[in-house]
């Protein structure tokens, strides 16, 4: 990373921390903003958050590692979240997932319920939702994120 990028990153981090100053229970909103802006919550960011909220680094790390949404490292591949919960299982998602087990270009991660349980199998990419998936539609989704 160039120095210039590091500087804009620092500015963004400071901006996020300042935006949540004085808020009650601010840690999760801060982590969401940082995860959204940088794609992960780096050790540097955890250190800065700990300083801003007067927490220990261990406390911040404990929260980051507890929740599935926060990652200490950026995702190396594009992510498709495929619902693997019971209602989608009843609609055949396990066979669908098995058919894409060899797909290494994207990460097909499990998610437990997108709340579209009557029209599964379902997937989410970013904030976009996709229902009634079959192998052809999931294939098209994989191609669309590459």
């Amino acid at each position: 990373m160039s120095d210039r990028n590091a500087m804009t990153d620092q500015t963004e981090l400071d901006r996020i921390l300042a935006a949540h100053a004085g808020r009650e229970g601010a840690l999760l909103p801060i982590l969401h903003d940082i995860q959204g802006a940088f794609g992960h919550v780096s050790e540097h960011a955890m250190r800065a958050i700990a300083g801003a909220l007067n927490l220990s680094r261990a406390e911040v790390y404990g929260v980051v590692s507890f929740y599935h949404d926060f990652h200490a490292e950026p995702a190396p591949r594009p992510v498709i979240k495929l619902c693997r919960a019971e209602s989608c299982q009843a609609r055949g998602v396990e066979a669908l997932a098995a058919a894409f087990a060899g797909e290494t270009r994207v990460a097909i991660e499990p998610v437990y319920c997108l709340g579209l349980c009557s029209v599964g199998p379902n997937a989410m990419i970013g904030d976009a939702l996709y229902a009634r998936l079959d192998p052809a539609r999931l294939s098209a989704l994989v191609e669309s994120v590459l």
Binding site: E24, G25, A26, L27, L28, P29, L31, H32, L53, G62, V63, F66, Y67, H68, D69, F70, C83, A85, E86, S87, C88, Q89, A90, R91, V111, Y112, C113, L114, G115, L116, C117, S118, V119, G120, N122, M124, D127, L129, Y130, A131, R132
Partner: protein, 515 residues
């Protein structure tokens, strides 16, 4: 000629099924398109509503035929459709009819009448009214809402909170999402009434991060309604992918910015909740039932229902089902009516073998349970639970030992780690079910064969012994876990074992074959 007005839902499910493209095609054909909430007939989404008549499920290619009057996808008058006509929609009275973020639509359809009446009656009478309605917590536990509110109202503190639990993580449930995306002001009104009744200044809506559309709609609605509910304030907070945060004490920790670990009770959240202050924690559906109770009176609400379960329940029919969707009806309807008559059996056309009621912590039911009335006590008596009233239907290709394994595995993945029965029991449960599924049994290990291990089994464990071990483990989890995650995971496991023993290598139950 005036343009045809077409109403299409902008609910997350409709969008996932391609509603935006259909809406764009109608707009391109010169129609006025209004984006409204969803009727809840999910197999028909995207559904177009033209003058009260429905067409669905549509793709952009169907638009010309719909406008030309030649489409075979018409379902006639939507409100006359049996799926809608059989319902009693109190909480979902506006579903399909209003624009979710329109304050005008909300006010024109009776919105804010409940809050106005609460302000007229005063806090004490408001709580009395909610108590009289018999409204019980819709999150699963079924605790009377009025009693919880009374506890918070009587607690002495300068600061109190109302927390709306919108961490709807159970598979097979989507009613909370539909309220937030389809009728967000309704939830806001319910929260404002709760805040007024107990004397709280601040409300939080804790929404799971898997619901981006609900988050956006609620944020926008909270902003628009701020002056109406003032001095009460509401803020939307977003979860971070932890199922256990649907448990109320874990949710409170998460709101405080901590790991979502469960707290021991007592103290009750009603006395020491968010930031140690008295807090009402209610599910979305509980709070969304309140405006109707206040606007129409407790006795009218209590007149609907069954036994001690009063009022209506928005039941969610999902999984491998032909007619899936949102079905709000008074308590007392039987499971069989919901699955077969209303749901129409499986989408795959194969026979129904099992239905799971209440999400990942709910029991699996065979068709011989279809006589059960939807009622908290009736389900409890059958070793089952209603939970958040989601029904997942499975056809005869399902392997219940695999579903039991999934229940344990899910618990292992989502356990907060605070208590041992849940944290370790779930992993041991997966291992035990794996052995049962493989029919291998298990030889005694080196520690077990030590002479000082008096109680350990010395020989290889047989299949019945492994099943006894699993049953024993479930007992421990049920009675030893701190919260419902570890405590209720035995429901799907033991119900699968009890009703479908043949999937675990045991002899089948004699009578079930006749169903």
């Amino acid at each position: 000629m005036s343009a045809v007005t077409v109403r299409i839902s902008d609910d997350a499910l409709a969008l996932a099924c391609g509603a935006d493209a259909v809406a764009a095609a109608f707009a391109a054909a010169g129609c006025t398109v209004e984006r409204v909430s969803s009727w809840g007939m999910h197999w028909l989404e995207p559904l177009a509503d033209i003058d009260g008549h429905g067409f669905g499920p549509l793709t952009p290619d169907d638009v010309a035929a719909v406008l030309g009057g030649t489409s075979p996808l018409g379902i006639g008058r939507i409100e006359a459709h049996p799926f809608i006509a059989r319902q009693e929609r109190l909480t979902f009275a506006r579903a399909g009819k209003t624009r979710p973020l329109s304050l005008d639509d909300y006010a024109a359809t009776g919105g804010w009448a409940g809050l106005a009446r609460a302000r007229e009656l005063g806090p004490e009478e408001t709580i009395a009214e909610v108590t009289r309605s018999g409204l019980r917590g819709r999150g699963g536990a079924g605790f009377p809402a009025g009693i919880k509110w009374t506890t918070v109202a009587k607690a002495r503190s300068a600061r109190k909170y109302v927390v709306c639990n919108a961490d709807e993580g159970d598979s097979g449930t989507f009613a909370d999402r539909m309220v937030m995306e389809g009728d967000p002001f309704h939830l806001i009104e319910g929260m404002a009434i709760a805040g007024f009744a107990v004397g709280a200044q601040q409300g939080y809506v804790y929404i799971r991060s898997e619901y981006p559309h609900a988050i956006a709609k609620m944020r926008s609605a909270v902003e628009r309604a701020a002056s109406i509910i003032a001095p009460f304030q509401i803020e939307v907070r977003v979860g971070a992918g932890a199922y256990v945060c649907g448990e109320e004490t874990s949710l409170l920790n998460s709101l405080e910015g901590k790991r979502g670990e469960v707290r021991a009770k007592p103290p009750l959240p009603a006395l020491e909740g968010l930031f140690g202050q008295p807090t009402v924690v209610n599910n979305v559906l509980t709070l969304a039932a309140v405006p109707w109770v206040m606007a129409h009176g407790a006795s009218r609400y209590a007149a609907v229902g069954f036994g001690r379960s009063r009022g209506t329940m928005p039941i969610q029919i999902a999984g491998n089902v032909r007619h899936g969707g949102l079905f709000e009806v008074g308590f007392g309807i039987t499971l069989g009516e919901l699955v077969m008559d209303i749901g129409g059996g499986t989408a795959s056309g194969r026979p129904v073998r099992a239905v799971q009621v209440g999400g990942p912590l709910g029991a699996y039911h065979p068709p011989s349970d279809f006589h059960l009335p939807f009622d908290y006590e009736a389900f409890a008596a059958a070793d089952a639970l209603i939970g958040h009233a989601g029904i997942s239907v499975f056809d005869d290709t399902v392997d219940l030992s695999a579903q039991a394994r999934f229940a344990m595995q899910f618990c292992a993945v989502e356990s907060c780690g605070k208590c041992t029965p849940c944290r370790i029991g779930s992993t041991r449960g997966v291992e035990a079910i794996d052995r049962i599924r493989a029919r291998t049994g298990r030889a005694a290990d080196r520690v077990e064969t030590l002479p000082q291990m008096h109680n350990a089994q010395k020989g290889a464990r047989t299949l019945p012994e492994d099943i006894a071990l699993l049953t024993d483990l479930c007992e421990t989890m049920k009675f030893g876990s701190l919260c419902a995650l570890g405590g209720f995971t035995p429901y799907p496991v033991l119900s699968a074992l009890r009703h479908f023993p043949e999937d675990f290598g045991l002899p089948a139950l004699a009578q079930e074959a006749a169903e």
